[in-house]
Amino acid sequence: MLKLVFLGKFGDLAPAHLSKVALPGDVRTLSDLKHWLTRQQPLLGQAMAANTTRLILNQCVAHDLSLPVADGDEIAFLPPMSGG
């Protein structure tokens, strides 16, 4: 299973069942996962397509979307941040 975390506005667009998904057969990388999510939820995919979206793989910033995704991974999707 993959644990998916959608933060901020992405959380409003992601249905609850996407928080835990079986690793899809055609998903090998973070980029594949983004494409798979876009096919599942086009509005979410559209929102996440902006180049301001950051991905966090197992609590580490993923600068490279060609990084592999494996069963048990936690992947978070971050829209632009607004602390302070």
Binding site: L7, K9, Q59, L78, P80, M81, S82, G83, G84
Partner: protein, 153 residues
């Protein structure tokens, strides 16, 4: 360095006093408190909600604080940041610095706030009479952050 993410309302004066207690080695204490406004751009704000990414948010703020601490030779920094539902008038964030001299403490607080505005993994949602909207950093926040980044290079 003390970094705390808190769900409940906090008293910045109590936090600051505890941070500085017994520190006769420091010559300066500077603190900044960010408050929840009751109106933004003329629209009332009923509530502000701040989301975090548990674990990651605290780790990232600690990393930013460590960078600022090294740059300004300011080892004692305090960050207290609210998450969850916040009402107008309540404190959102407290950043405080203890240093030998005031210049370093002022700069450490200012630069750390600039980083928090754009880089801290936190997401604000404002609710008012017209509904709710997610807040994103303003152009001036990015400009200040770029200025702060230059100094860290």
């Amino acid at each position: 360095m003390r970094i705390r993410i808190v769900q409940e309302a906090f008293d910045p004066q109590v936090e600051t006093a505890a941070f500085a207690a017994g520190r006769d080695d420091a010559g300066a204490l500077v603190s900044f408190v960010g408050l929840c406004r009751g109106a933004t751009d003329g629209s009332d704000v009923r509530e502000l909600r701040i989301d975090q990414y548990p674990g990651f948010t605290e780790k990232e703020i600690a990393r930013m604080a460590a960078d600022v601490s090294r740059r300004f030779d300011c080892p004692d920094l305090l960050v207290v940041h609210r998450v969850g539902a916040i009402l107008p008038g309540e404190a959102i964030v407290l950043v405080a610095a203890l240093a030998t001299h005031r210049a370093n403490a002022f700069e450490a607080v200012r630069v750390l706030m600039d980083f928090l505005k754009t880089d801290a993994p936190l997401w604000k949602k404002e609710t008012g009479p017209q509904g709710a909207r997610w807040i994103e950093p303003r152009t001036e926040d990015h400009a200040r952050r770029a200025q702060a980044e230059k100094g860290l290079a």
